[in-house]
């Protein structure tokens, strides 16, 4: 039956080559697959060694995918208004089938992603992988780190409970003190900054964390920040390839 199926035109149009274990097929497996062709066909052996890369970049990306999927599901049940947000959370935790599973996974994966992105940076530093030719990819990485933190921070507000509103209050209170641009920052008042026109006001959409803040953080969390992060990730992965794949001791070999 399966053999018959394999001969049909439909099957052949989807799967272009057989699974025979030849060098050529192994290569085709990679280049003919839209997901796998991010990879080179062959890599140096140490690049497949988990104790070299720690796998943290890949895990960060996997967690990002998990977050995207669970996040989209959460969006079906969540309305970003002060009136409904908390109610929707309760509903999700108590009445939606698998609601707690989805929400928990979104929460824990977000924490885990912050953790793995930090460890990834630590590894990249310790192997000196930011050195030429990978300087710019490190800079892209730093932007991704900042984006990861901002994504996590903006998501923290959305449950609209005591934990979220006060954590975000503490966090955004810093913006009051921005030099020049905050109403309590050095030279801020001298430049005409007031509580109702400084950077914090722009961030919160008000003088305190309130319903407009919820909407702002929601849009930032679900649309703006992920979009930017995806763009930078595309650049990041592309650059890993273009900079010659995973770093290795090329220079040391020559000595």
């Amino acid at each position: 039956m399966f053999d018959q199926l394999k001969k049909t035109e439909v099957y052949k149009s989807i799967f272009r080559h057989s699974y025979q274990d030849t060098q050529r097929n192994r290569a085709l497996q990679i280049v003919d697959n839209v997901f796998l062709h991010l990879h080179p066909v062959r890599v140096p052996r140490h690049a497949t060694n988990l104790s070299y890369t720690w796998g943290m970049g890949g895990i960060t990306f996997l967690l990002f995918l998990i977050l995207t999927i669970t996040g989209v599901i959460l969006m079906f049940y969540y309305r970003p208004t002060a009136q409904y947000a908390y109610e929707d959370m309760k509903y999700l935790m108590n009445d939606v089938p698998f609601g707690p599973l989805i929400r928990n996974m979104h929460r824990w994966a977000a924490h885990a992603m912050v953790l793995t992105v930090m460890l990834h940076m630590f590894r990249v530093f310790l192997t000196g992988s930011y050195k030429p030719p990978r300087q710019f990819n490190w800079v892209v990485g730093v932007l991704l780190l900042v984006l990861t933190l901002l994504l996590s921070f903006s998501g923290y507000l959305l449950p609209w409970d005591q934990l979220s509103i006060w954590a975000v209050t503490v966090g955004t209170n810093m913006a009051r003190a921005t030099p020049l641009l905050g109403h309590e920052g050095p030279l801020g008042p001298e430049l005409g900054m007031r509580i109702d026109n400084d950077v914090r006001f722009v961030l919160l959409g008000g003088t305190e964390v309130g319903p407009p803040t919820l909407l702002r953080f929601y849009v930032g969390h679900c649309i703006f920040l992920p979009l930017i992060a995806v763009i930078f990730m595309a650049v990041h992965f592309w650059r890993v390839r273009k900079d010659g794949g995973i770093s290795g001791p090329e220079a040391a070999k020559k000595i």
Binding site: R26, Q29, I30, H39, V41, R42, V43, P44, R45, H46, A47, T48, N49, S51, W54, G58, L62, L63, I66, M93, L101, N104, M105, H106, W108, H111, L115, F122, F125, L126, T127, G128, S129, K131, P132, Q135, F136, W138, V139, V142, L145, V146, F153, D161, Q162, L163, I165, W166, A167, V170, M174, G182, P186, L187, E208, G248, P249, A251, A252, K253
Partner: protein
């Protein structure tokens, strides 16, 4: 002790426990690998440079890792519920009010610095400083393999910044800072009414210069004293340059790169000094230092 275990095992604090354990593990792993490479003539990585097929040798690892991580996430999500507290209420401030865990290092620095430094300037310097690393580190060695010997300054500086100033402060802020952001040892009960009685003084007052005149205006002498302290501290970088400018390393580094490195490095050291100035005097029954430099516009 019960309360400490309770804080330790709060679902939202699991990541910090994981952070601590994984950072210790990976630092150890780095150390083992770096030592081995430093003792060998060529790094281990250089002996593994034969090419292998990505399919199956890399893809299978990715596949297994994906399954493992998914399994961990599912178990974690079934076992522990994400917190959902009382509905948001502006009239009810919890004590302590803490930022999300990854910002607790910065919140800790609020003890020692005004918000414009701890909340705005330092994060900016961290981001800019991280981005600058590849352009100011001109050491060609240690690219693509683990080593300590060949890049001691880089590893020690980054290691200190990441492990102590970032990770350790997060752990401290999560587990040892209680109500009123007061310090509590593990096992001590978080007493919401505890008030630390400390009279902070400015550094100049240790030298007999009062910060305020009797009419409460700023004492110009104190202003100058502070400016000399801060300026003098950063000019250490200039002195070092003048003394070592003819060495090969400095010539290769160039003035621009050197300025960036010395400014960022001294800023990090400065943060540590300010922390010490605040904490150390209390050990001798003296008053902690509040500001090093008071000006009409900002205080350092």
């Amino acid at each position: 002790m019960g309360q400490f275990l309770e804080i330790l095992s709060k679902p939202d604090n699991i990541p910090i426990v994981l952070l601590l354990l994984s950072v210790i593990y990976f630092t150890w792993l780095y150390w083992v690998k770096a030592k081995r490479n430093d003792m060998a003539t060529v790094p281990v990585e250089a002996t593994q440079d034969d090419k292998v097929q990505v399919w199956p040798y890399l893809v299978r690892i990715e596949f297994l890792m994906t399954i493992a991580i998914m399994a961990v996430m599912v178990v974690w999500s079934i076992a522990l519920d994400a917190p959902l507290e009382e509905p948001a209420n502006r009239a009810l401030t919890p004590n302590p009010s803490k930022a999300p865990w990854y910002f607790l290092g910065l919140q800790e620095l609020l003890v020692y610095f005004d918000p414009w430094i701890a909340g705005v300037v330092l994060p900016t310097l961290i981001i800019v400083g991280l981005m600058a690393i590849p352009y100011v580190d001109i050491n060609e060695k240690g690219n693509g393999y683990y080593t300590y010997k060949e890049r001691k300054f880089a590893v020690l500086t980054f290691g200190f910044g990441f492990l102590i100033m970032w990770v350790a402060l997060i752990v401290l802020g999560t587990f040892l800072r209680g109500p009123g952001w007061n310090f509590f040892w593990p096992g001590e009960v978080w007493d919401p009414h505890y008030v630390a009685v400390l009279t902070n003084v400015d550094l100049s007052e240790y030298f007999g210069i009062t910060t305020r005149m009797p009419d409460n205006s700023l004492n110009p002498l104190a202003f100058i004293f502070g400016a000399v302290c801060v300026g003098g501290f950063y000019s250490l970088g200039v002195l070092y340059w003048i003394k070592n400018r003819n060495t090969d390393l400095m010539q290769k580094l160039g003035l621009v790169r050197y300025s960036v490195v010395s400014f960022l490095f001294l800023s990090m050291v400065g943060v540590v000094i300010k922390v010490i100035l605040r904490l150390l005097p209390t050990a001798f029954g003296l008053n902690p230092v509040k500001y090093v430099w008071v000006t009409p516009w900002f205080n350092v």
